[in-house]
Symmetry: C2
Subunit: 151 residues, 2 copies
């Protein structure tokens, strides 16, 4: 009898954990959307801009963001129109174009990075250093289980 009620409790806690991860993820996403809106960017524009710490070819950017190349063209157009990035020729392959931040792009990039910097987010201030490490270790285990699941 006791084992039965324990099993139920554990199932409940799994459900709680799932809900918590979902809620925290939603919070993070909303925070991202509102941060990028403040600097006048749409989420995909911001995702691309944030990837440009170093210049990168359009194809590579598509790979890193897991987006189709044709979509990257449009995002690049928008960021270029706003003067945040520029397309440079690739010396050595004239098909390729390298995207790089302009000076203004640098400014927005830095501002956004700072704004989003999780280290400055009060989100995890509620945890002591020891708890934070515990949390990290537990999430790593869950993530590993998910990765080996993969079906």
């Amino acid at each position: 009898m006791e084992s039965l009620s324990t099993a139920t409790d554990i199932a409940d806690i799994r459900g709680e954990v799932t809900e918590l991860i979902k809620s925290i993820g939603t919070h993070m996403r909303l925070r991202f959307v509102s941060c990028v809106a403040e600097v006048g960017l749409t989420p995909p524009q911001a995702m691309a801009l944030l990837q440009l710490s170093e210049p990168i070819s359009m194809g590579n950017l598509a790979d890193e963001l897991v987006l189709d190349a044709s979509y990257i063209t449009g995002i690049a157009d928008q960021l270029e129109e706003r003067g945040l990035i520029e397309r440079r020729p690739d010396p050595g392959d004239r098909r390729r174009k390298i995207l790089a931040l302009t000076q203004e792009g640098q400014r927005v990039h830095s501002g956004l990075t700072g704004e989003l910097d999780v280290a400055r987010s009060p989100a995890m201030d509620a945890l002591t250093d020891r708890e934070l490490i515990q949390l990290r270790d537990l999430l790593v285990k869950v993530m590993q289980a998910l990765d080996s699941e993969s079906r």
Copy 2:
């Protein structure tokens, strides 16, 4: 000097935790999308169907899913065409329509609920009961911090 390097490490771990929550959230979302696709539903259709354990008015469904009422009309149309739900009049308010599962809808709803049941997901099998409770408690703290942040 030691405090400086410690501070950096903690910042790194915060970043790790953020990334982990993002990754686990992505896994969960992909799992949801593939589960609902198996029963031939789009994600919004599934979200609506899963809410129908009990009959509910269209407006209330819109509130619960945080979607506009006009969008609910379309989703309800699709689920009704597939014979999974029906619109019933509300005795007492003739403007209102109550959505309820058909018998076939019941079947799909049960199947999907079982498929998605977190208690049966191997995701958290990597954790002992004690670790699971620890994880829940830590996530609750993070969530509370996020809630009081709210700006």
